[in-house]
């Protein structure tokens, strides 16, 4: 079972906090779609012996594409690869693209899951982040979509400067009231080379506050739990049966291929990145080359990644898997490193599985790092 991720590198306008790869210039849209289809064909051999279980169109904003363009890409996947009988096919979409007609049209394609970039139901937040949609669109698109797509996820951001605890609660309740079965929720993060960072540095926007983010996160955990959502990954909450299969594959070390500029691939041992420049990507594909950089993972790299991703999920880190996949010395090392965190109730062991406690969740990167194996030189 494997996944295919397809990166659509276009957006209508740039959100202030975003450091993804995208272009607001749609000039090469058609060419890129052709190139993506070409890349799908080039890489046929990579999935010779496996069935495709998930297809994910991410970005960027895939919903800026015409429905026919999306269909063309999906059709190419089906033409080239063996797709399972009940695949999960997700389209990332932004509220401003999701008119009623477009939702209906997408529902008539093979797409069976929408991931909508709502981020907030409040005008102030949307403005501050320079989102392309407004509060009304945020609300309406979900209302329209729910009848057509039982499997919907929305993104919500917390810790936005000026966002009160009450407003954050209200955001969550709106999502619950709209009967969304899956929520991905992120703390607003100030990335390098973003407009947000420069506004904060210039004092035009208040900086994000870890203290506030931590409070909002606690609210998130409480509200989600109360309404029957499972926190199956640090930032992801789902009603039973609605886990994102595509994303779960990332966290459990499954293989996937990434198509399109800046997309990343993983075959269990090697990671690859496509070049994150639309024109260079196009030129390479047109010349029949794959513009990919490859990194081979060592055993220690794989151990570290397993710890890092494992601790973020409800699956945790299996001590048995550590022992069988990496060796008894890895298990011994891990338990030794984990001791102080177990003592401080930031980690706990359930049967064979090492997990972060609720108290440890918001510190889980630091904890993962402490469990890593590195050599100093």
């Amino acid at each position: 079972m494997s996944g295919i991720y397809i990166h659509i590198p276009f957006c209508k306008q740039a959100c202030h906090y975003c450091d993804f790869h995208f272009s607001t210039n749609l000039k090469y849209k058609k060419d890129i779609i052709d190139a993506i289809c070409d890349e799908l064909r080039f890489r046929e051999s990579e999935f010779k012996n496996t069935t495709v279980q998930t297809i994910y169109l991410g970005g960027g904003t895939p919903s800026v594409l015409e429905v026919a363009e999306v269909e063309k890409i999906i059709q190419t996947v089906f033409d080239v690869y063996t797709v399972s009988s009940n695949p999960e096919i997700t389209l990332e979409a932004n509220p401003d693209d999701l008119t009623k007609e477009k939702i209906v049209a997408f529902s008539n394609t093979r797409i069976n899951r929408l991931s909508i970039g709502v981020q907030s139901f409040f005008e102030e937040d949307l403005k501050l982040m320079n989102r392309a949609h407004n509060a009304v669109e945020a609300h309406e698109c979900i209302e329209f979509a729910v009848p057509y797509f039982p499997n919907i996820s929305i993104d919500l951001i917390y810790g936005i400067p000026g966002m009160s605890e009450a407003r954050w609660r209200e955001n969550l309740h709106k999502a619950i009231d709209l009967k969304v079965p899956h929520i991905s929720s992120y703390a607003l993060t100030v990335e390098d080379n973003t407009a947000l960072k420069s506004f904060i540095e210039k004092g035009m926007i208040e900086n994000v506050d870890d203290e506030v983010a931590q409070e909002h996160f606690q609210i998130l955990l409480d509200v989600m739990q109360l309404h029957g959502f499972e926190n199956y990954e640090f930032s992801n909450f789902s009603k039973p049966g609605f886990f994102s299969q595509n994303n779960t594959a990332y966290w459990t070390g499954k293989s996937y291929i990434g198509i399109g500029p800046s997309a990343h691939s993983f075959d269990g041992k090697k990671r690859g990145w496509n070049i994150n420049n639309n024109v260079k990507y196009l030129k390479a594909i047109q010349a029949g080359e794959l513009p990919m950089e490859i990194e081979e993972l060592t055993v220690v790299d794989r151990y570290n990644e397993y710890i890092m991703t494992g601790l973020r999920t409800i699956y945790g880190v299996s001590l048995h898997k550590i022992e069988t996949d990496f060796g008894p010395n890895f298990k011994e090392y891990l338990l030794k490193q984990a001791a102080e965190y177990l003592k401080d109730h930031l980690l706990y062991i359930d049967g064979d599985t090492l997990l972060v406690t609720r108290k440890g969740k918001f510190l889980s990167d630091g904890i993962a790092s402490a469990l890593f194996m590195v050599n100093l030189s």
Binding site: Y5, S185, Y186, A187, T189, D210, E211, A213, Q214, E233, F234, S235, N247, Y250, W251, Y256, G258, S262, A263, H264, F266, R271, W273, E295, D301, N304, E305, M308, T309, R312, D344, L346, K361, F362, L363, S364, D365, G366, I367, A368, S369, A370, F372, V374, L376, S377
Partner: protein, 599 residues
């Protein structure tokens, strides 16, 4: 012997000694084009990276003068940095002449003068060389005048040169032949050779570098070291070209190396006299004063389990660097480690770096201090040597403390006299003299506590003088002083390794700066950490490191995994360089932070 010339190259730091040595090696074809590289004699990795000479380096050149006469020239390149001035004095003792290099843009600087005096004390013939005349900023006329004033020589004796372009190199060679006296000595007397350097070779043991004064040394000869009283056989002797060249005999006046199978650097004392075992000389050479460490600091393994490894690494390092002294000690905060004595702050930095680089030892260096004399009420006349702040007796039992003073010489431009003066006064200095060397350049001398030089003096001096100040110092002896120990408490626990002895008048300001600096450097942890400075039981400053609330990134999808793993790996590496004291993790550099309070 009349065709041997022994000379060293001395100067202020960076005036071009090693580069000039390169040109001489080229001109005499001692190295081939292929072997040639910039500052060839700086063969330690650290020397090459930092672009400075740390150890003196002797090399022999064969030279055919324009008149066809054959000469042997023994050259010794010396370091310019004040921490290593003992290297200069040893080299000087093996020579009859010195090239005194002066940078034509910078003119005479503090170590130009101090090294010149060292050479004059040993009656060396001085050949002044005006180097870097190719620089656009060179000031040849004025600097020549400065040199003439300093030496009382004739302007025609100053050789204009450029170690970069090769200008003047022939003139320098001619001057060496004409002006440096040939060695005097009697080849028929009993062997009398001066040990002026030694180095450690992993495979061959200790290599002793010597200069034969009288008699000669032969391969296989049964020899004796006068000071240590030990006898050996001269397994191998030879001359120092780019590589060692074994010889059967080295005669009076010449320089060479000796290998006897000695494994312990301690067995060879630089300054000792080598003589014949059966027919010893009645006239051993004066020898050198022991090098005295100026600065002390604790060196501890980051990981307590590495203590024994650290010991063996330090011992090996000492084979190479006899000026390093150390002794086991323990700290409540850091466990077992060593109190080490260094020649200065650069020496300390270099030792720390070499431990890391050559022995893969990650260490914590504690706050450096000088060596104090304490006297208690009970024994007011008995000196208690305090090389570690925690050895200072309790204030109630303390009669008085003395600290080492130095005579500091600073040469700067007249524009910066005011700035330099304020800095030195702030550093508890007292002006003792101020002389205008020229209308532009001033030499100032201060009596100053050595301890103040340790605390961010060089950097500050550089800043206040925009780089136009050079500094040299010589010990003056001990003086009584009002010193207190400022302790640092983390999470209400005293961390002895962060204690410092500070003059009472500065204790509050420095205590405050120390806690501020530590707040910046100690990473946030899962709880609030109070950082306090105290004198005895009295808290004089306080800061709090707020607890870490968020240590996780929101997103971790396919494309983030690798980047994020690398980030967390880096974090882990950083943490491995930290030391847990109580439940607080302190990064390696925090221990030295008090030295950089003004950054």
């Amino acid at each position: 012997m009349k065709n041997i010339r022994n000379f060293c190259i001395i100067a202020h730091i960076d005036h071009g000694k090693s580069t000039l040595a390169d040109r001489l090696l080229d001109a005499t074809q001692t190295v081939t084009k292929r072997e040639s590289q910039a500052q060839l004699l700086d063969n330690m990795d650290l020397e090459r990276e930092r672009g400075i000479t740390i150890k003196s380096h002797a090399i022999q050149m064969d030279y055919t003068a324009p008149d066809g006469e054959q000469y042997i020239l023994n050259l010794i390149d010396t370091p310019g940095h004040v921490d290593f001035s003992y290297e200069v004095s040893r080299s000087i003792a093996a020579c009859e002449g010195a090239l005194l290099i002066v940078d034509a843009a910078q003119s005479i600087q503090a170590q130009t003068i101090s090294n010149l005096y060292l050479a004059l004390e040993n009656d060396l013939e001085i050949i002044p060389v005006l180097n870097k005349v190719d620089l656009p900023s060179a000031n040849p006329e004025e600097v020549t005048d400065d040199i003439v004033d300093l030496l009382g020589c004739d302007p025609s004796e100053v050789i204009p040169a450029s170690a970069k372009t090769g200008l003047g190199i022939q003139d320098i060679l001619d001057a060496i032949i004409e002006r440096v006296p040939a060695p005097v000595g009697d080849p028929d007397e009993p062997l009398q050779a001066l040990v002026f350097d030694s180095q450690y070779n992993q495979f061959r043991g200790v290599e002793t570098i010597f200069r034969v004064i009288n008699g000669s040394i032969k391969k296989g000869q049964h020899i004796k070291f006068v000071a240590t009283g030990e006898s050996y056989y001269a397994d191998e002797i030879g001359t120092l070209k780019l590589n060692q060249v074994p010889k059967k005999e080295i005669k009076a006046g010449d320089v060479g190396y000796l290998i006897t199978g000695i494994k312990e650097a301690k067995e060879v004392k630089v300054g000792d006299t080598i003589t014949d075992h059966a027919k010893p000389t009645t006239n051993p050479i004066g020898g050198f004063e022991d090098v005295k460490p100026m600065v002390f600091a604790g060196i501890y393994p980051v990981d307590t389990e590495d203590y024994e490894d650290l010991r063996s690494s330090m011992e090996k390092l000492q084979l190479n660097d006899a000026s390093l002294v150390f002794q086991a000690e323990s700290s409540a905060a850091l466990g077992f480690g060593f109190r080490c004595g260094f020649l200065g702050m650069l020496h300390l930095e270099i030792i720390q770096e070499r431990l890391e680089r050559e022995f893969d030892m990650t260490v914590i260096t504690t706050v450096p201090n000088v060596s104090y004399h304490a006297y208690t009420h009970k024994n007011p006349d008995e000196i208690l040597i305090v090389n570690n702040p925690s050895d200072l007796p309790e204030p109630s039992s303390l009669n008085r403390v003395e600290e080492p003073y130095i005579k500091a010489t600073i040469i700067t431009k007249s524009d910066f006299v005011g700035n330099v003066m304020s800095l030195c006064i702030e550093k508890r200095g007292v002006v003792t003299n101020q002389t205008y060397l020229t209308t532009e350049r001033v030499e100032m001398t201060f009596d100053m506590p050595l301890a103040e030089i340790v605390f961010d003096f060089y950097d500050r001096l550089k800043t206040v003088s925009k780089g136009y100040a050079s500094f040299d110092y010589a010990p003056l002896g001990m003086r009584e002083s009002k010193l207190v120990r400022v302790d640092i408490l983390l999470n209400a626990q005293t961390v002895d390794a962060l204690s410092a002895l500070i003059h009472f008048d500065n204790a509050y300001t420095i205590g405050k700066k120390m806690v501020e600096k530590l707040r910046e450097l100690i990473p946030r942890q899962q709880f609030d950490i109070p950082v306090q400075a105290a004198i005895g039981a009295k808290i004089i400053a306080r800061e709090t490191i707020k607890a870490l609330r968020k240590d996780v990134t929101a997103k971790c999808y396919g494309g983030d995994i690798s980047r994020k793993r690398k980030l967390l790996e880096k974090q882990k590496k950083g943490k491995k360089r930290m030391r847990q004291v109580g439940n607080v993790e302190i990064p390696q550099q925090a221990f030295m932070a008090v030295l950089k309070l003004n950054d």
